[in-house]
Amino acid sequence: MMPTVPTNDSEREFAGWEHFSHSADIGVRAWGPTIERAFEEAAAALTGIVTNAEVMPSQEVTVACNAPDLELLLVAWLNVIIYEMAVRRMVFSRFAVRTDGARHLRGSMWGEPIDMLRHAPAVEPKGATVTALRVEREPNGLWTAACVVDV
């Protein structure tokens, strides 16, 4: 099932993403009320590296990944998206994540084939890294998920 887009401002306040600087590359930092939501926002931040244009959520792709801990699970999740983007020549705009809270993740993502003119993709992510990698619950209760992406 496709996730609903947050419709009210209060929910937007609690989930979102931003990019941060890393000399030659770009960092993604996302937050949300749950690990899953933070991971979904991190995926949106990854798309934000590639394009600012609207991406139609017309095709669904499902993935699964495993890792020994939550931080490496974020790296695995972003890397599986990068892989699907590369082999399917797609960009994604909506994401739904389920985890067991630690090591296993199942994700769905919705997007469309890259349209060179409309999406004007800026740069191709090579891989998510363990640099500035952080998945943590903040004192305010929100989860943060962050790492640098090599481009």
Binding site: S23, N79, A86, L117, V123, G127
Partner: protein, 476 residues
């Protein structure tokens, strides 16, 4: 980086340690201004590298260094397998065997003027560039494996290159020791439709004019003539290398954690050279080197087809093809004794001096060409490896200008179309599908490449031979 904590050896050589957990000193080659402009993380990372098992002589930093992944970009470190030495996926980088290839053409820049626009358009059509671009070559599983073992030799055998190029490519165009079976399935799948594609980011194909000659003897040996144009390609092993880098970095992080290895940073994860994981990574990394060599050979082949269409009498000749993200087994004299070492060069170019046996006859007396990419606006340099640089940094030199500003900051400061227009006013034609990508690669986001190569020369690493000015730039 604060200069105060560094011990100055000479004008362009600085040293720290060893102290604490450092097994060897950190040695930085740069002038005071370049050091002041370097991120503090460069020193921190070079220091971390100096703590790794089996490291020999020093953890070296090139003049263009910046913050990398475990190793600084612009870092050189050699490890001895017999001393428990390690191999590091971060020490090679995600774009395995990313490198530069330059081709002399004999065409005068003045001949180019009347066709510059049309040539730029034709190259932009012929060279698949940017995110999601697809080449005309699609490989099945069997051919992917053949390419991974054969490198540029494979490309030539398939009519996608020129046999005369091979002696001017590192390793003769084919890296020995590649193991296709060590390459993860996803890496192969990612590469099936990416052969002969340029990629994005700082990768480019340029037509460049020789603007200044510094060393006429080396320039003559290299076929560089003032006013003539070259084709220069900067790219690497595409999705295959990225996937190998990604998967092995994670595997090394997990293995280091399981082994209880104390690492200053997780991203410094590595594996003993003689371990199963180390051997498997080396087999896969060498296969990725072959992928990069094949890819640059094919891109060059595509570019030459376009050049010949406009200039049927052109005589393209490969000057050299050299990588700057590798780990190679080399023999170096250390304290007067030859030792077999695994030399990591992350954002550093191999720079063999005169007389090195691996160089082709035409170049041996002069030394190895070192191709240093600049930015779209400022141009590039051809250097030559200097005698004695083996003792300085295992025969290595800088690889580029190095970024002075993040993509994020560049995007806030510049408008891509404005940069394209400004460069066009200076007769530099940029072709890119992404104006945001152009803004992120703005000339002003890079350090002064002239200062970087001058520091490399003063440090005795590589001497300037010629400066090249971009005329046409195809960006991903």
């Amino acid at each position: 980086m604060h200069i105060a904590g560094l011990m100055q050896i000479d004008e362009t050589t600085w040293q720290v340690g060893p102290t604490g957990a450092m097994r060897v000193p950190v040695v930085i080659y740069a002038d005071a201004n370049l050091i002041e402009a370097m991120d503090d993380k460069v020193y921190e990372q070079a220091r971390n590298v100096s703590t790794l098992p089996g490291i020999v002589a020093a953890s070296f930093v090139m003049p263009d260094a910046h913050w990398g992944y475990g190793f600084p970009i612009g870092g050189v470190a050699a490890f001895d397998a017999s001393q428990g030495g390690v191999v590091s996926a971060g020490g090679v980088g995600f774009d395995i065997s990313c490198g530069v290839r330059s081709v002399t053409t004999g065409i005068l820049e003045s001949e180019l003027a009347t066709v510059q626009d049309a040539l730029a358009d034709s190259l932009a059509r012929a060279i698949p560039a940017g995110v999601g671009s697809e080449g005309s070559i699609s490989l099945d599983a069997h051919e992917v494996d053949a390419m991974l073992l054969g490198g540029a030799v494979w490309a030539v055998a398939h009519g996608l290159g020129d046999a005369a190029d091979l002696e001017r490519i590192e390793e003769g165009g084919c890296m020995a020791g590649a193991q296709a079976s060590c390459v993860p399935g996803r890496a192969k799948e990612r590469q099936r439709r990416e052969m002969g594609t340029l990629g994005s980011g700082n990768h480019y194909l340029e037509i460049q004019a020789v603007e200044e000659i510094f060393d006429s003897v080396a320039a003559a040996a290299f076929g560089l003539v003032r006013g003539e144009v070259l084709i220069t390609i900067h790219c690497g092993s595409r999705g295959l290398g990225h996937q190998i880098g990604t998967e092995f970095l994670t595997e090394m992080v997990i293995a280091s954690g399981a082994a209880g290895t104390a690492l200053p940073e997780r991203e410094l994860a590595c594996a003993p050279i003689e371990s199963e994981l180390g051997c498997r990574y080396l087999g896969a990394m060498r296969a990725a080197i072959n992928c990069a060599l094949a890819n640059r050979e094919i891109l060059d082949h595509l570019a030459r087809r376009v050049i010949r269409h406009f200039f049927p009498a052109a005589a393209p000749r490969l000057l050299f093809d050299v990588s700057h993200n590798t780990c190679k087994v080399e023999t170096h004299l250390v304290a007067g004794h030859p030792r077999t070492l695994y030399v990591h060069r992350k954002g550093a170019t191999r720079a063999f001096g005169p007389g090195h046996p691996s160089l082709p006859d035409a170049l041996r007396s002069v030394g190895q060409p070192v191709l240093v990419g600049g930015s779209m606006g400022t141009g590039s340099y051809v250097l030559v490896g200097m005698a004695g640089n083996e003792e300085r940094a295992f025969a290595s030199a800088c690889h580029g200008a190095g970024r002075a500003m993040s993509r994020h900051s560049a995007l806030r400061r510049w408008d891509g179309q404005q940069i394209v227009d400004d460069l066009a006013a200076h007769h530099i034609l940029v072709r890119s599908r992404s104006m945001r990508g152009v803004a992120e690669e703005a000339p002003g986001a890079y350090k002064d490449v002239g200062a970087v190569v001058l520091a490399a020369e003063r440090a005795g690493l590589a001497r300037r031979v010629a400066r090249l000015r971009p005329v046409i730039c195809i960006k991903g």
